[in-house]
């Protein structure tokens, strides 16, 4: 008769795979649609940005943390709360610049690349570039203009995956009409 139990296993695990596989299918489609890796990187960043501006609201609603006091606190919150919440991992915050306006997130494993091997001839592809866009979009919504990019990637043979975040400027609320 009918089978007992959920043969699909741990649903959270399946969801992780669903995301990873969907992302993989998307990147494959973009590689087909665009002429070169730079354009694919750009699209991924743009799509990530659009996701980030929505994701931040979901994050703020769930994490219920207040505004960060400085960039160091922001770095900590991204690594320990946000990455943990959405990807189930905690990157290491490191390589701070002397001015304290730049740091790196070091990832030992990357769920986005779990089943992935970079096809030959795509050495300039930043496969996980959507992450940069998500971070950029999310941070912009909390008034921080930040430059985000990959500097190391295990997919390309590096020992670790490193995302670099550089603070550019603070964005201000709109001033009402007729005031300044």
């Amino acid at each position: 008769m009918s089978r007992q139990g959920n043969r699909a296993g741990d649903p959270r695990k399946v969801n992780g795979e669903l995301f990873t596989l969907t992302y993989g299918a998307l990147v494959a489609q973009l590689i087909k649609d665009y002429e070169n890796d730079e354009q694919v990187n750009k699209q991924l960043d743009k799509m990530g940005y659009n996701m980030g501006v929505r994701l931040i609201e979901d994050y703020l609603a769930r994490a219920n943390t207040g505004r960060c006091n400085d960039f160091r606190e922001t770095a900590d919150v991204i690594a320990k709360v946000a990455f943990k919440m959405y990807l189930g991992l905690t990157p290491v915050v490191s390589n701070w610049s002397a001015a304290g306006d730049e740091f790196s997130l070091l990832l030992e494993s990357n769920p986005l690349t779990e089943f992935v091997e970079l096809p030959p001839g795509h050495s300039n592809l930043n496969y996980s570039n959507i992450m940069c866009g998500i971070l950029r979009g999310a941070l912009e919504m909390v008034q921080m203009d930040v430059d985000v990019r990959f500097v190391q990637d295990t997919l390309k043979g590096d020992n670790i995956t490193e995302i670099r975040l550089k603070f550019i400027k603070r964005l201000e609320d709109a001033v009402p009409v007729g005031e300044d």
Binding site: R54, E57, D58, L60, A61, N64, G66, M141, D173, P176
Partner: protein
């Protein structure tokens, strides 16, 4: 106790949503003018408060009371401003405003791809859910007149 009205502004000063319940007196000015005034007032009070107390701004300003009404304010770190006017007998509404953000705005606007985040909310579902939520609050009078 009663709730008069509700405003939601984004960080650009756009009024994303407005609703009213037990608001008896109608204004002579247009809604657009009223939104501009409201955003301007909130903006001024915020900067006034931050100048008075530049070090402790985690919470910011929460509410103020006049002889006729009480204004409640909640702002997310993303600059969404939730504003509600009630009568004087209503206590702290911070949790209510937070709930509108986390359970209604995020669920029915942010997670609805057909709602643009910088445009006024057009979702009927959000409108219905908010109305249900407000009418179900203990601060909303049992015998609704509107």
């Amino acid at each position: 106790m009663t709730i008069f009205n509700f405003y939601l502004f984004d960080r650009h000063g756009t009024c994303l949503y407005y609703a009213e319940w037990n608001r008896k007196k109608q204004l002579t000015m247009s809604k657009e003018e009223e939104f501009k005034l409201m955003y301007g007032m909130i903006f001024s009070i915020k900067s006034f408060a931050s100048r008075l107390s530049p070090t402790d701004m985690k919470e910011g300003f929460l509410n103020f009371t006049t002889s006729k009404y009480k204004l409640h304010f909640f702002e997310t770190p993303s600059g969404l401003k939730f504003i509600m006017n009630t009568d004087l007998s209503v206590g702290n509404m911070k949790d209510v405003l937070h709930q509108i953000f986390s359970s209604l705005y995020v669920e029915y606007v942010v997670k609805n791809p057909l709602c643009e985040l910088d445009q006024p909310v057009t979702s009927e579902l959000f409108k219905t859910k908010l109305d249900e939520y407000i009418r179900g609050l203990p601060q909303f009078p049992i015998k609704a007149t509107s």
